[in-house]
Amino acid sequence: MQERSRFGTSLLPYLLIAPQLAITAVFFLWPAAVALWQSTQAQDAFGTSSVFVGFSNFKQLFADPLYLSSFGTTLEFSALVVVSGLVLSLFFAAMADRVTRGKSIYQTLLIWPYAVAPVIAAVLWGFLFNPSIGLVAYGLGKIGISWNHALNGGQAMFLVVLASVWKQFSYNFLFFYAGLQAIPRSLIEAAAIDGAGPVRRFFNIALPMLSPTSFFLLVVNLVYAFFDTFPIIDAATGGGPGQSTRTLIYKIYDDGFKGLDIGSSGAQSVVLMLIVVALTLVQFRFIERRVQYS
C-alpha cells in the first residue's frame, strides 16, 4: 500500500520501461514478424509483387538434402567455436589472474581483439593463411603441411573457427577475468594453507564459483556462433570449399542478400530462430540447475 501511495498512479513504471520496450519492439519483434511474413511469400527482389504461398518455402527447404546437411555443419562449427572459445579464454583468464607484474599490459592485449570488426578479423586471418602469400601458410609449407583452404574442407573449417574464436575471445576473457577477481581471496588462501596446489585450487574452488559466469557465456557464445559469424565466413571462405563451411546463418545471408531470394531467406531465419529458442530453453531448463548462484 505504501508503494502505491508513493507513485500515485501505476502508469509510471510502464513509462520507465517504455524506452526499453520500444527498442525491443522495433529491433527484435518487428523484424521477427517481418521475417515470419516474408517466409510465406514469393517475392521478386524489388518487392514489386508479392504472392502468398503458404508453407511452400519451408517445404522446398526441407526437400533439399544440402539444406539438411548444413545443420550438421552448423552444429560442428558452433560446438567448436563455443568449446574452444570458452576453454581458451578461461585458461588465459586464469593465467592473467596469477600474473603479478605487468598485469595491465596482459589485460589490454587480451581485450584488444574485441575492437576489431568481424570482417577485418576474417581478412586478417585469411591473409595469414593465404595459400599463396600467407605467412602461416608459408611456415606450414616449410614443415611439410600443404595449406590450401580453398580446396581442403577441414582446413577451411579450422580457419573460420579460429577467426570466430579469436574475435569473441576478449569478451569471454573479460567475463572470466572479472569472475576470478570476484572470488574471495580468503577462500583461495585457506585452500593454499591446506596444501592445495594451483591446479587443485582452480578446479575445486575457482571453477565452481565461476559457474554462473560460465553459464552466461555459454548462452552468449552459442548465440554468437549461430547468428553473428556470417561476416567471418563470408570474408574467409564464402561457404566453401564445396559446402564445407556453409552454416545456416551464412546460407540465410547468402540467399537473402546475394541471391535476393527473400522468401527462402525468411523461411530459413524462422527455422534458425526456432532452433535457438529451443536450445536456450534446454539450457535454462537443464544446465542452469547445476549453476550455483552463491
Binding site: 524489388f46 559446402q243 547468402d254
Partner: protein, 441 residues
Amino acid sequence: MLKPRFLRSLALGAAMLFGATQAALATTEIQFWHAMESTLGDRLNDIANDFNKSQSQYKIVPVYKGTYDQTLAAGIAAYRSGDAPAILQVYEVGTATMIAAKKAVIPVSQVFQQAGIKLDTNAFVPTIASYYSDSKTGQLVSMPFNSSTPVLYYNKDAFKKAGLDPNSPPQTWDELAADAAKLKASGMSCGYSSGWQSWIQLENYSAWHGAPFASRNNGFDGTDAVLEFNKPLQVAHIQFLANMAKQGTFSYVGRKDEPNSKFYSGDCGIITGSSGALASIRKYAKFSFGTGFMPYDATVQGAPQNAIIGGASLWVLAGKDPAVYKGVAQFLAYLTSPAVAAKWHQDTGYLPVTKAAYDLTRQQGFYDKNPGSDTAIRQMLNKPPLPFTKGLRLGNMPQIRTVIDEELEDVWAGKKTPQQALDSAVERGNDLLRRFQNQAN
C-alpha cells in the same frame, strides 16, 4: 543593444539559408551508386567531375557501395524504402533480376526517348549491346559501361627459364597443359591457375566452342530455360582440368581473383582471369608478362567462336522527378561519347563499349604502345556471335555460380567425377531457375 543585434544575425542567417536553398535548387542532384573500388573508383569520379563541370543544370553524385552484390542489395533495399538512386551499377549476372523488376526500372532506351536525346543502338559493340538489350525489341534496357572478357596471362621470364618461347602463349588446352608441365619441371610451384571458374571454364568455354550454356538461347528467349552445360563437351573439359589438377599442373586457389596475386607474385606461370585485372597485374608484376586468347580445344570444329562478357552495366531506377531523368540521359550520353569511353577503356582494361571508342583508341596508337591491351576486344569480335553465344540471361545466376563453384571444388578435391558434379550442378541450377520463374510471374 542585444536585441537588434540578435535580430540582425537572425535575418542574415535566414538570408544565407534561403540563398543556399536557392543554389541547391538550381542544380538537380543525381545519385549514382557503383561498385568501382580504388583506382577504378577514382577514374569514375573523374568522369563525374568532368561532366559536372561541363554543365550547371545537373550534378552527378557517385557513391561507392561495396562489391557488386552489396551494391545491388543496397540499391534494392533503398528502392524498397523509397530512397533509391537514379543510376545503379549492376553486374552482368544480375541482369535477369533487373529485367524481371519491370516496375522498378526504366529501360535506358525509354529514358533517352523521353529526354529527346538520340540513342543509336548500332553504335555499340554488338555482343556487348545484345547482352543488355530486350530480346524482342532489340532496345537497350541498361547502359553498357564496364565489360571484360577472360584472357590468358603468362609470365615471359618463367617461359624463358623453362625453355619455352616467351612470344608464343599456349593457344590450345593441350599446349597449355604441356607448357604448365614444363613450367613445373623448371621449378615453379604452380603451372596454371584460374579464378571465376563458372564464368571462364563453363560459360565462356561453352561460347568459345560454339555450344549453348542453357536452352532457349541461354535464356534470352524466356525464363523457362534449362541448363545444358553437362554435355560431353564440357564434361571432357572439366575432366581435362581434373587430370591436370591430379598431376599438379593446375592449382585451384579460390573462387574469385585469388589467382591474380599468385600470378604477379611469380608463383603461377599461366593464369586465366578477367581482362579487367590487367591494370593491377601491370602494377604489381616484377617480370615481363604477355596476354593471349583463352585456349581452345583443337578437336572441336569451329572453335574458337567468340567470348562473352562479364562486368556491369548501368540501370535507371524508377520513381524520380522527370527532371532527374533528363540529367540521367545527358550523363549516360556523355559516358558513351567516344573520347570518354575510349579513355575509360584505356585507363582500366575494360572493353571499349562503342565502336567509335575502339576506333579512336586504335587511331591514337594505344594498342601499338600497349601490346596485349586489345586481346579482350579481339576475342569478343573473333566471329559474329551465334544466338546462344551472345551472353546469358538466367535468373538467380549469382546463386547458380555458387552452385557451380561448390560442385567443381568437389571435382578438384577428387570427391566427385566431372560428370557427377556437372549433373548435380545442372539439377540444382535448374531448381533455382524454376524458383526465379515462379517469383517473376
